[in-house]
Amino acid sequence: MNHQPFEEWQLNDTHLTPTEKREFDAHLRACAHCAALTETGLALRSARVVAPAAGFVMRFQGRLAVQKIAERRRRLWGLFVLILAGVGLIGWIAAPYIFAVISSPVEWLTAAIGYFLYLVTSLQAFGDVIRVLGRVVPDFIPLYVWMVLFSTLAGLGLLWTISIWRFARVPRGVAV
C-alpha cells in the first residue's frame, strides 16, 4: 500500500485542510501502518513527565559533598606522591655528592671551587661571544627575519602563559 503523502504529513506534523483531513481519515481506516503511526504520535504527545523521588536535591547535595571530599583527598595524595617522588629523585642524584663530601671534604671543596671557576669563565666567554654576535649579526639579518623571530617568540610566550593558566586553574566544584 502506498503510504504517501499520509506518512509524510504525520512525520512533518503538517497542518491539513478539511479535504486532506477526510482523505487522511479514510486512509487510516484502511492502513494499519499509518494508523499505528498516528497512535504512537498520540502516545508520544500524551506521555507523562516522570518526576524523581522526593529528596532529590538533598541526595544531590550529599553526593556533591562526597565528591568534594574525594577530590580533595585525591589532590592531597597527588601532592604527597609528587613531593615524595621529587625528594627521592633529588636524593638519588645528590647521594654520591653527599657521600663524597662526608668522606673527603677538602678534596670535594677543591673540586667545587674548580667547577665554579670553570662555570664563571665559561659564562664570561659566552657573554663575550654574544656581545660580538650582537654587534655583527644585525647587519646581515634583514628586518623581516627579525619580525618573524620576535613574532615566533611572542607566540611561544603566549602559548606558555595560556598553558600555565589552564593547568593552574582549579575547576568548578573542587574545593580548594
Binding site: 512525520l11 504520535g41 524523581p52 536535591v57 544531590f60 556533591l64 568548578r172
Partner: protein, 200 residues
C-alpha cells in the same frame, strides 16, 4: 537579567546555594529524560545526579547565549547514551559470570518479563516499553522532540548532529515505533484470543 541567569552567574562564582536552586528547578526535566533514556528509576536517579555533578564541574564552560536547560539536557542525553553504550558493551564482552565466578544465563531481551509486563499494563505507559528498542541517539532525539518540544535545530545542537540528520533520525524512529506498536498490538490480540468466551 532573568532569575535563572542570575543563579547561573552566582553558581559560576562559587555559590552552592545558587546551584541548588538550579537543581531544584531542573530536577524533573533531567530525571524524566534519564528515565525515558534508561528505562529504570534507579539508573535514571543515578544518571540525573551525575548530570548535575557534571554540570557543576563544567559550569565555567557554559555559554550564556544558549538556554541553560538545553545545555543541561544535552549533558544528560550524552551521559545516558554513553551509559547505554557501556551497558551494551558489557553485555557483549561479559563472560556470563558473576562476582564469585559462577556462570549465569543472561536474560533474553526478547523474552517477556512478567513484572515489566504487569507494570506496563498498570501504568499504561506503553510507549516507554517501545522506546528501549530504538537506537540510543534516535531515542534521545524522540524524547527531546516530544517531551520537551525541542525544535530540530535545538535537538541538533544538543546532540551535536546536523539538522537534516535529526530530521532523518526522527522520521526513522517514528516509523520504527509504529512498527513496534503494530507488533505489540498483534501480540496482545493473539494472547487475548484463547481467553475469550466462545459466545463472542
Amino acid at each position: 537579567m532573568s532569575e535563572e541567569l542570575a543563579w547561573v552567574l552566582q553558581a559560576q562564582q562559587g555559590s552552592d546555594e545558587a546551584f541548588t536552586r538550579l537543581v531544584e528547578t531542573y530536577q524533573t526535566p533531567v530525571y524524566n529524560l534519564c528515565y525515558r533514556m534508561l528505562g529504570e528509576p534507579e539508573s535514571a536517579e543515578d544518571a540525573a545526579q551525575e548530570t548535575f555533578l557534571r554540570a557543576y564541574q563544567h559550569l565555567h564552560r557554559y555559554d550564556q547565549k544558549r538556554p541553560f536547560a538545553t545545555w543541561l539536557l544535552s549533558i544528560a542525553a550524552h551521559y545516558c547514551i554513553d551509559r547505554l553504550r557501556r551497558r551494551k558493551f558489557a553485555m557483549f564482552s561479559m563472560d556470563a559470570e558473576d562476582e564469585d565466578g559462577n556462570s549465569f544465563e543472561l536474560p533474553d531481551p526478547d523474552s517477556p518479563d512478567p513484572e515489566a509486563e504487569s507494570v506496563k499494563g498498570q501504568t499504561r505507559d506503553q510507549i516507554q516499553a517501545l522506546l528501549k528498542d530504538l537506537d540510543d541517539t534516535d531515542r534521545a532525539a524522540i524524547i527531546m522532540r516530544y517531551w520537551y518540544d525541542y525544535s530540530e535545530a535545538e535537538i541538533a545542537e544538543s546532540l551535536r548532529l546536523t539538522v537534516s540528520a535529526v530530521k532523518s533520525r526522527l522520521h526513522r524512529a517514528r516509523k520504527e515505533l509504529a512498527g513496534l506498536w503494530q507488533e505489540e498490538e498483534m501480540r496482545t490480540n493473539t494472547e487475548r484470543r484463547p481467553h475469550e468466551s466462545p459466545a463472542f
